[in-house]
């Protein structure tokens, strides 16, 4: 079944060419010209992935992403004008999974989308590592086979990327992994990948799974080396 993709872009021409190119790649593309339109559409016609331009008109891209995130964990890629502004970090913190900068090549976009789809949960895969208890006092259990993170039996809502990142850190736990390595395994970015993506996602994970995100004990920063998962 074709992946349903919502493109939120107010520039008519960019939106048109994205539809052209992505339909060529086999996606089922729907369009929205503003953040509010995107939210409205999302409620009636759910999609599997989204592309959002940060430089939207009325309701800016950040608000759009935050609102979507309140109701969904689907992968979101942002389009930004420049890589070295704080927009990227803000967009990632609002809930986006990855980004491309204008002018982008279509093959960049499709590569990002493919990487995101590969993070989809695959129940029943024999290669998948077993369940792991992250925190016994709160009954925080990560189940890669089921694709869930449970706290006292309740599902903790993680985006696909956050889940994938946590699984990567848990494989095996207690081992330091560099940002470069995480960028490659989770996002499939190469040498020139932006390591801020990893940092923002670690921050987001911490807000969701740490008892005190300001003093993290599960996901520990190892200065100069990377991150390490320490099950409690």
């Amino acid at each position: 079944m074709a992946t349903r993709l919502l493109v939120v872009e107010d520039d008519d021409r960019i939106r048109s060419v994205l539809r052209l190119a992505l339909e060529d790649e086999g996606y089922q593309v729907s369009e929205a010209t503003s953040g509010e339109a995107a939210l409205r559409q999302f409620r009636t016609k759910p999609v599997d992935m989204m592309i959002v331009d940060l430089m939207l008109g009325e309701v800016d891209g950040f608000t759009c992403i935050r609102d979507i995130r309140k109701v969904s964990d689907i992968p979101i890629i942002i389009i930004s004008a420049r890589a070295d502004t704080h927009d990227i970090v803000a967009g990632l913190e609002a809930g986006a999974d990855d980004y491309v900068t204008k002018p982008f090549q279509i093959k960049e976009v499709t590569a990002r989308l493919r990487a995101l789809r590969r993070r989809a949960r695959t129940p029943g895969d024999p290669e998948v590592p077993p369940d792991i208890v992250l925190d016994s006092t709160r009954q925080l259990v990560l189940s890669p086979s089921r694709g869930t993170l449970l706290r006292d039996g309740q599902d903790v809502h993680l985006t696909l990327t956050e889940f994938r990142l946590l699984s990567e850190l848990a494989n095996p736990p207690g081992r330091v992994q560099s940002r470069r390595a995480l960028l490659e395994s989770v996002w499939e970015h190469g040498f020139f990948g932006d390591e801020r993506i990893v940092d923002v996602h670690i921050r987001r994970l911490r807000t969701k799974i740490e008892q005190d995100p300001g003093a993290p004990r599960l996901i520990v920063t190892v200065r100069g080396l990377g991150y390490r998962l320490d099950p409690q």
Binding site: I14, V17, M55, A83, P103
Partner: protein, 442 residues
């Protein structure tokens, strides 16, 4: 200064006090001489009795020479104490005084002839007390001079430092600003004279900073405006390219031209924006250590080159902004392709505290007269392919980015044939032992 002062004071004091003493002694001597003559003129003079009666003051000794006999009021001082030269002068009938040492003690001897009674009268006044006073004065003055000298030196250093330090601060701040730290300001000062300098300096830097930021914002705004239409163009051309089989050969050729020019346009825009950023003195934000070998490997791959051309030291680390450095070498590779007849080799050389990257091409090389000019903006050289297809900004960006990273770039001679560009960057892993790791020619 204080030494001169002390010495002068001492000398003046010494001569003043001595001359005072001398005058006093002289006066006394004359009075005494007068008295002695009066007594001698009367009959039945008993000189010893006269001398005893006179009760000389302050250790002075009175000596009388009368009728070839010498009389003294003191047991220690007598004829032998009177210097011969003085005796001769007085014998001649002239009064005189002389300074001499008697038993190691300085003294003044006054001689007064008394012709009416054929006698000579001498007074020997020791200067011991005076000597001690002078010595005390000397010690005090020396001590005072030393203290004054030290205090003066201390004050001088303090004063000069408090003048020189602010000037050093200004020089230091100016250097920092020139180096790109545009938020440098001088701290406020209480000194009213320096306050003017500080105030002017800070407001000058404020204005400068604002203008630079305005220019950078203009470049950023222009870029944003250009990026959207460019995005559409680039993406549309990709879609067309996927369907090139549906096009006639002429259309395919036209499409290829569009793809090339669009690529050049995109690179021009990137270079321009980068140049505006780097030229504005904005320090590289994302500086991290990285392996130079890895950087070049990936840059070559991105530029569509084979990594077989890469050789040299594999263990050299540099610190910098990955994307900006990638652009530096991508531009050099591009330059080698367009103007150098093709990229021939990329070699890493590790020196003690810097790394060199040699980018060699098979072209004619850059004539010595052009080697400075080519790094200017929009300077284009003759190309190997008969068309100027470079952006004109590539090398300018290389030069400015490399400078912002604390390095340098220049043209060199390549042994054999072809041209060579050399990029030097500070090593993040400088070796203190002076070892050089070189995998290829230097």
């Amino acid at each position: 200064m204080s030494a001169i002062f002390a010495v002068t004071t001492y000398a003046l004091a010494q001569s003043y006090l001595l001359s005072q003493r001398e005058r006093a002694v002289l006066r006394q001597a004359y009075l005494d001489a007068n008295y002695v003559r009066g007594r001698l003129e009367s009959a039945g003079a008993d000189v010893p009795a006269i001398l005893t009666a006179m009760a000389p003051t302050s250790g002075s000794a009175l000596v009388v020479h009368w009728r070839d006999r010498w009389f003294s009021s003191s047991l220690d001082v007598g004829r032998s104490s009177i210097p011969r030269s003085l005796r001769d002068v007085v014998a001649d009938g002239r009064p005189a005084s002389i300074r001499t040492r008697i038993d190691g003690v300085p003294a003044i001897v006054i001689g007064v002839p008394l012709p009416s009674v054929q006698a000579s009268y001498y007074e020997v006044a020791p200067l011991r007390e005076l000597q001690e006073n002078l010595r005390t004065l000397g010690v005090v003055l020396t001590g005072g001079a030393l203290v004054a000298a030290l205090a003066g030196a201390g004050l001088g250093v303090y004063a000069s430092r408090s003048v020189v330090r602010p000037l050093n601060d200004v020089a230091g701040a100016a250097a920092q600003i020139a180096g790109g730290r545009l938020d440098t300001r001088l701290p406020p000062t209480r000194d009213p004279e320096l306050a003017t300098i500080v105030g002017s300096f800070n407001s000058m830097v404020d204005t400068l900073h604002q203008r630079i930021e305005r220019d950078a914002r203009l470049a950023a705004d222009v870029s944003h405006e250009l990026r959207s239409p460019l995005t559409t163009l680039v993406a549309s051309v990709e879609v067309l390219d996927k369907r090139r089989d549906e096009l006639s050969p002429r259309s395919q050729r036209a499409l290829d031209l569009v793809i090339e020019e669009l690529d050049r346009f995109r690179r021009l825009l990137d270079n321009l924006l980068e140049l505006a950023r780097v030229g504005a003195g904005l320090a590289p934000e994302a500086a991290e250590p990285m392996s130079l070998w890895e950087l070049l490997e990936h840059t070559l791959a991105r530029s569509g080159q084979t990594t077989a051309v890469l050789s040299g030291a594999r263990d050299v680390q540099v610190t910098g902004d990955k994307l900006r450095l990638e652009r530096v070498f991508a531009n050099l590779i591009d330059n080698a392709e367009r103007h150098g007849g093709g990229l021939a080799a990329v070699t890493i050389v590790g020196e003690r505290d810097r790394a060199l990257v040699l980018v060699d091409d098979d072209g004619p090389g850059v004539p010595i007269s052009e080697r400075e000019r080519i790094f200017d903006r929009f300077a284009t050289g003759r190309t190997a392919r008969g068309s100027s297809s470079g952006t004109g900004l590539g090398l300018a960006l290389v030069s400015e980015t490399v400078a912002a990273h604390g390095g340098a770039v220049w043209c060199a001679d390549r042994p054999g044939r072809g041209g060579r560009f050399v990029v030097s960057l500070p090593r993040a892993d400088a070796r203190p032992d002076g070892a050089t790791t070189a995998g290829g020619e230097t």
